[in-house]
């Protein structure tokens, strides 16, 4: 074997192994939090009803998970998962592991798709809120058809999904009363000057563009505040707000760190019951503090026992 062939083999080997190693590390690290709640899903654990319709103009659907042997004579509770993705990506499938886990704990669960801002359609947060509310209505009907009396729910979500989960809980428009909400790394306030990274990623040069997409209204610097408050969870908090479990990474560079402060200040101001779990080593992916993720999940189950009654 001449030298040239040898060097080519060495170089190719390095490149292939290098890339594979990087991909495997990303997969392993990125999926680590979900590994904590992975369950072996089969007919003994529960039944999944996939791609169910709810009222919306864009063909969005939801998936429903019913635990096995759930008592139809007793009141039951729903946990709704709303996926994240900066309001322009993600899908209900992101909540599959999440839903199966909480279903294995005896709760009816669902994960929902909603209109995203990358689909060439108007997709303001007002529209997303309305779609989520419609999905809950459909879930209420479907679970009634299946023989279950769902009397309360928790809304939950990650990132953008956490925002929508809080909006559902704090707006009081849900046909199933929301007893508490739990969310990770969610934006809480849409003051455009706080969102330079999101504006840059989406190519919105002006605050007006950001406001138009988020609210659906043509707004200027003078008249935007009223609409912004209506879509921002931290502005919706009042003395009647339901208990809230929140988790944020201290190294998050997608959602500005002051976002959690807005929410915590509002919760403190109105003396709302809440638990804040800090992920000191994590960024937006929340994968660097598995002990904190476990604490978050355990606390969410304690909330279920405490507030589902």
């Amino acid at each position: 074997m001449n030298k040239k062939v040898k060097y080519i083999i060495f170089t190719l080997t390095f490149l292939v192994v290098f890339c594979l190693s990087a991909i495997v590390r990303i997969q392993l690290l990125g999926s680590a939090p979900m590994k904590l709640i992975e369950v072996n899903w089969n007919e003994n654990v529960g039944t999944e009803y996939a791609d169910l319709d709810y009222k919306n103009d864009n063909g969005n659907k939801y998936d429903l998970y019913i635990p096995q042997n759930l008592d139809k004579e007793r009141n039951q509770y729903l946990i709704l998962f709303i996926h994240g993705g900066s309001f322009n990506s993600g899908s209900k499938e992101d909540g599959d592991v999440w839903c199966k886990y909480y279903a294995s704990k005896g709760y009816i669960t669902a994960t929902v798709d909603y209109t995203l801002q990358n689909q060439g359609k108007e997709a303001s947060i007002f529209l997303m809120n309305e779609e989520i509310e419609n999905a809950v209505q459909a879930i209420k009907v479907k679970t009634s058809e299946l023989g279950y009396n769902v009397v309360g729910m928790a809304s939950s979500g990650v990132s953008a999904g956490g925002t929508l989960a809080m909006n559902l809980a704090y707006n009081y428009n849900s046909v199933i009363p929301v007893k508490f909400v739990f969310q990770l790394a969610a934006p809480t306030y849409f003051e455009p000057n706080d969102w330079s990274l999101l504006k840059k990623v989406n190519g919105w040069n002006l605050n007006e563009e950001f406001l138009k997409v988020m609210t659906g209204f043509d707004l200027n610097e003078k008249n935007y505040m009223e609409q912004i408050k209506k879509i921002s969870p931290s502005s919706l908090v009042n003395e009647n707000t339901v208990p809230t479990l929140l988790g944020y990474g201290l190294r998050d560079h997608c959602v500005p760190l002051n976002q959690k402060r807005y929410l915590i200040d509002s919760l403190d101001k109105y003396e709302v019951l809440y638990d804040y779990i800090e992920f000191p080593k994590s960024n937006h992916g929340m994968y660097n503090d598995l002990d904190k993720m476990q604490e978050f999940i355990d606390t969410s189950l304690k909330y279920c026992e405490r507030f589902f009654y």
């Binding site: 060495f10 390095f14 192994v17 290098f18 190693s21 990087a22 990125g30 960024n283």
Partner: protein, 32 residues
């Protein structure tokens, strides 16, 4: 391949695994 080449190849593989793993972590930490 000589024995020396196999040793070099093994070193390259170990190095590539280590550097790739570091790159994967950096990508996750920076991008997400």
């Amino acid at each position: 391949m000589k024995k020396r080449d196999i040793v070099i190849l093994l070193i390259i593989i170990v190095l590539a695994i280590a550097l790739g793993a570091i790159l994967g972590k950096v990508i996750l930490d920076r991008v997400i």
